[in-house]
């Protein structure tokens, strides 16, 4: 093991922002009172939450009263799907490449799954085929966590509303916050999930934006916090941290995105020179160059033929490079990617997937180090077999 850390797993969790730590520490020390109480200290804590709600609403482009604070992306997704299904019934539809936090609730309420095309975009014809007037909720993630592919939410929404005008749109936007203008979500979707740790905030806090709260039932009962939609004592430091992270992220989004996209392009272009290597979710331009316009800036997701990503990740880790492949299961083992399977990738090729996800802290030195180590690791594994 080397001491150097090359963090290429920002899509799993981003490094926490210094400004966030600064914002959280005094809350931990001083604002420990329960915000649901009635005394002065409680009211001070509640004030912090109200301010954070305003801040987050301003950054995301939604109304403050639409924000329901949760414990993170998974809870937000569960609340959206179970909450809507419980309130108004009908059929839920999600895409085959959704996070398990969307797929599993959808399956458990007997929902339908819409196919994607080979580049990861939702198959709009299939979507139109399976929507009917029973459809009450369509859940399509704005950015895929594995491949970084951005969905055309505007077009998807227009198709849904044409066939089933009353259907609600949910988008798991947890991967979008660091890179995209969040109006892409808040303008078109009725329910939006975000999670603080994906954009430099702490773990264990997130939000579901709910535009019409009469169409969502709570899935967790108790003290009736968050308009009765999410009972449970507020995570004051987490909520304050999330708002701070959202603000810093928004302020530096344009420059971070441009800088990281250029690093990513250099990384991906160089890695594509390795034989039998494929980049997911991209299109080829007429001149042979790669069009990554439908991927977020931080995403470099590749499949290497004749490679098993577990072995590759091991070798990268020994050189201080931390990345991931598909999602890990609870045992920590790499599971075959349902996302790549849905995009039509053969299991053999999907076994060689690698997600290098860059973030606001990524540097040119990081990319150079990866380019120094990774091609040799691939060559070693291919020559020795693993």
């Amino acid at each position: 093991m080397v001491d150097e850390i090359i963090y290429m797993d920002n899509a799993a969790s981003a490094p926490i922002r210094e400004e966030v730590i600064e914002a959280i520490l005094p809350v931990l020390r001083e604002n420990y009172a329960n915000p649901s109480g009635s005394h002065l200290m409680a009211r001070k804590a509640l004030r912090l939450i109200d301010d954070a709600r305003d801040e987050l609403a301003d950054v995301l482009g939604c109304k403050a009263q639409d924000i329901i604070f949760t414990s993170g992306g998974t809870e937000s997704d569960n609340l959206a799907i179970f909450g809507v299904h419980s309130a108004i019934g009908g059929t839920v539809i999600c895409s085959a490449t959704e996070h398990h936090a969307v797929l599993e609730p959808t399956r458990s309420v007997g929902g339908k799954v819409v196919n994607v095309e080979q580049n990861g975009a939702v198959d709009l014809n299939h979507l139109a085929d399976i929507i009917n007037d029973e459809t009450t909720l369509v859940s399509i993630g704005l950015v895929n966590g594995e491949t970084g592919v951005i969905q055309d939410l505007k077009t998807i929404v227009s198709i849904v509303k044409e066939i089933s005008p009353g259907a609600l749109i949910h988008t798991d936007a947890v991967q979008a916050v660091p890179w995209l203008d969040m109006h892409l979500a808040t303008e078109y979707a009725d329910l939006i999930s975000v999670a603080a740790h994906k954009f430099g905030g702490p773990k264990g806090v997130g939000a579901l934006i709910v535009k019409d709260q009469t169409k969502v039932s709570s899935i967790q009962l108790g003290g009736g916090q968050e308009m009765g939609l999410r009972s449970g004592t507020h995570n004051t430091p987490g909520i304050v941290g999330m708002a701070a992270a959202a603000r810093v992220t928004a302020d530096s989004k344009a420059s971070d995105t441009a800088r990281v996209a250029s690093l990513r392009d250099n990384l991906a272009d160089s890695l594509l020179e390795i034989t039998n290597t494929f980049e997911t979710g991209v299109r080829l331009n007429g001149d042979g160059s790669v069009d990554r316009s439908n991927k977020v800036a931080g995403s470099c997701h590749l499949c290497f033929g004749d490679i098993e990503s577990e072995a590759l990740l091991f070798l990268l880790e020994q050189s201080g490079i931390f990345a991931s492949a598909a999602s890990s299961c609870s045992s920590g083992a790499q599971e075959p990617s349902h996302v790549l399977a849905a995009m039509g990738y053969q299991r053999e090729l999907a076994r060689g997937s690698l997600r290098l996800s860059l973030g606001y802290k990524s540097t040119e030195e990081d990319v150079n180090r990866v380019l120094e180590i990774l091609p040799d690791a691939i060559e070693r594994l291919r020559s020795l077999g693993s």
């Binding site: 098993e308 072995a311 091991f314 920590g332 083992a333 790499q334 599971e335 020795l384 077999g385 693993s386």
Partner: protein, 346 residues
Amino acid sequence: MKGKQKILVAMSGGVDSSVAAAVLLDQGYEVVGVTMKLWGGTSDTGCCSVSDVIDARRVADQLGIQHHVFNFGDEFDTHVVDPYVDAHKRGETPNPCIECNRHVKFDKLFRRATALGFDLIATGHHAQIIQQPEGFRLRRSVDLKKDQSYVLHMLEENQLARLQLPIGNLTKDQVREIAASLSLQTAEKADSQDVCFISRTKGGRKRFLEQHMAMTPGQVIDSRGNRISNVPAVQMVTIGQRKGLGVSGEGEPRYAVDINVESATVTVGPKADLYYAETAIVDVQWIGEPITGALDIQTSAHGHTARARVADKIYWEEPHKKVASGQSAVFYEEGTVVGSGIVSRS
């Protein structure tokens, strides 16, 4: 750190492999632990469950070594689970642990370890590797009650040369003492079941096989072909079985002495019909030169040995209880594995 040999130790989350890792660390190796995730099914016993991965990880943390998880589920399905089901379809009784060792632990894991730059691999099996003038040989554990050389008999010399079995010279009690002295959290953990992908708590082997294959209803007959009763699944009957065949109660006890899936019959007979002077075998492999004299032969993972000669068949010195086809027969000379074969129907 330079000059240290790098060793990858397979840690199942049990006490044996925990202590194996500790012993290797003590011997000065650079040790990395790995838990193989082999089975995606619902089994919660043996080497495949999340809680075992947690145990292995915590022991690695206690020892201060790296711990990784490798998902060899595809290899396990292809080389262990599918052949296990197929063998039962033919009415055979295979030993899946042997196939797991052959294809997963000592093929896939060996190749992975080599590719990742390890010099050696290790497991927590109870067996010993000895170096004889003619090469490396596998020998029984000093703890004969826990000996696992039977399920490792397929190891070839080039594999034995790169394998360490650090607890083979320890008794199980000694293993537990070491674990306790290091306060390893697996020190008092119960021994695992043999067939890790079949949960005992959820209907066991019968339920597992019912979910994976069509059962053949059949007739129970005597040696003259007289029909006695029916059984719902010929494949679920085992040689020597007495209950559930409609033959209990009257007269001399009768046992299942032959099982034939093709003709859908189970033949029952008196105890004497279970004993044979010869056992047919195929795929005989010798480690070194074939031995024509009497050997100790073991035909199941926890079975006793019996003296016999091996030629075209196994010729037992004393009549030997019938062995289900598909089982491995492992040949020992003074506690050292010298060869093996697979028991066949005729």
